[in-house]
Amino acid sequence: MEIKRFLKDICEAPGVSGYEEYVAKVVRAAFCSHVDEVRQDRMGNVVFLKKGSSSAERRPRILLAAHMDEIGLMVTKIEEGGFLRFSAVGGIDPRTIVGQEVILYGREKLPGVIGVKPPHLVPAEELGKGHKMEDLHIDIALTEERVRKLVSVGDLALIRRELIQLAGNTVAAKAMDDRAGVAVLLSCLQELERLRHEADVYAVATVQEEVGVRGAAMATYGIVPDLGIAVDVTHGEMPGVLEHEACKLGKGPGITVGPNIHTKISEEIIRVAKEYRLPYQLEAFPGPTGTDARAIQVTRGGIPTGLLSIPLRYMHTSVELLDMDDLKLSGRLLAYFIASVDLEFVEGLSCC
């Protein structure tokens, strides 16, 4: 399947943290022809196994993790008049959701709008303040009576957004964080079909990353890999963001270094990138990262971990923007890295 087409499909699919069933189906359908086994664990992680070429009994086991959950909204109260109060699932800046169209997943899919009290009713000094979540409501333009029949507290809502093709290879959508990572896994699996790789590859679309990197921990526990690579997004350069805090778009994936990352893994990824002349950027992060890598590293007795990131602007808005080239370069780099991994390499990871 063409990667951009797949990215559009998964970004537009609903899958708020803890409620990933629908997007999981979309992922399964696209991945299944590239893998030998598929299973879904108790938490909802979808695990795809692509077996290595080695006939040896002991083959390296590589975990690839990209989270398929997305940030969203959850109804907390039905107000008089049928207006809905809500809270965020995951980190949402309330100032970026005012005036957005939403799809409310009640008893049926209901179109709505995120509204606020109009500006003419707000004292002038308040106009300089950003909206808080409690100032906002969802309006589904139904009478309170019908709202109470169709909606209940706990129902989810998502910003309505189709993927937008911008100039060149740039695209924007909701949920690029981290469906772009899931697309990298698919791209990697496609690349692997023409490469010889000794290792068994467990590509996992994880759940509940946005609410505390939960799914990856369970998936890693179940797979017991020799090493794990998380694929996520990272902040792209934009005005107001310091240069060292951000990666450039179109210049290849970020390779993270720091305490969350096993040095031999980052060094090997860099070596492979140089060997195949693939562009990359270094990202220094002085602590546990806010990605699945955070959970993978401390699972069971400790898992050597790496992190590959796609530069992305406007993270956690509905117009998360990235360059498709970065996504494809990430898939390729990951595949060449996997092809380079043998038993000797993974056994060397425990010796420091």
Partner: protein
Amino acid sequence: MLLKRLSEASGASGDEGEVRSLLKEELALHAEEVTTDALGNLYFKKGIGRKPRVMVVAHMDEVGLMVVGYEKSGLLRVAKVGSIDDRVLASKVVAIGKDRVPGVIGAKAVHLQKPDERTKAIKIDNLYIDLGVRSQEEAEKLVKIGDYGTFTVTAREAGDNCLIGKAFDNRAGCAVLAELLKEEFALELNAVFTVQEEVGLRGAGVAAYRLHPDLALVIETTAAADVVGSKESAYVTKLGDGPALTLMDSTYIAPQQIVDLVVETAEKLNIPYQFRRLTTAGTDAGIISQTHAGILSAVISIPCRYIHSPASIINLDDWQNTLRLARGILNAVAEGGLRLEGIA
């Protein structure tokens, strides 16, 4: 549905060409004469020479953005065209210029904001349109300084016979006027789609000067603030309660005989109506009523929640009832229901 097509068309103040073309194409066969003027107002005449001569007005323009500069990175600096609350701009999709080049208005990731940053409104000075290019040179190839931008939103049915979309102010009014033009009235009907209302009622004055009608009926869209958190006294209008009659705003006061005519017409025809309960803001009637030696003017409006934002809501019953009321007013006027000479 013409209303949906009108809502989706792009036409910030000064850039009404797309809406004008759409209306011309849709309505040319229904008029005896179609003209435009130097500002871009679009006129349809029907029943030429009949008395009284009535001008029915709806503005075509919408609030939007204008490209005013480039960053070296290729991001675009923008200014607002008309009154938009800066706080609705972040995280939206826009289309720019004649070719409708797509762009997004991003916002700094929540992870990178300092706590005090999060409490402040995101002002337009900190917002950019991102076309997906990597340099100013690439941006210059796609978009010119002065190009207009509007939100990209598909109009869509929602809730109890409602419509979600952009630019209902005042494409909803345009759609009412379009329907009126397809009907027959025993008067000279001048259907005028005006330009530049949102930047200061610029087009309507010119149109009124040229036509010098006996009466102007302005079809508008106005705020409905009937939402949670606002007091009933601040609702302005309520969605679903029918067309709103303006008594007074910042630009105009309704003459008593206009109020009587509209109220009597609504009651006679059993059309729900409400008064617009806000005395600020303005409509084309503000300038029309002060053209020549004064032109008798009336304003009726379709209530709209979240007006001037990318996703506003109107009720289609309100829209239908606005059409019925406008039709009723025209028929009443044709039957001599309005004293057109001076105040007695």
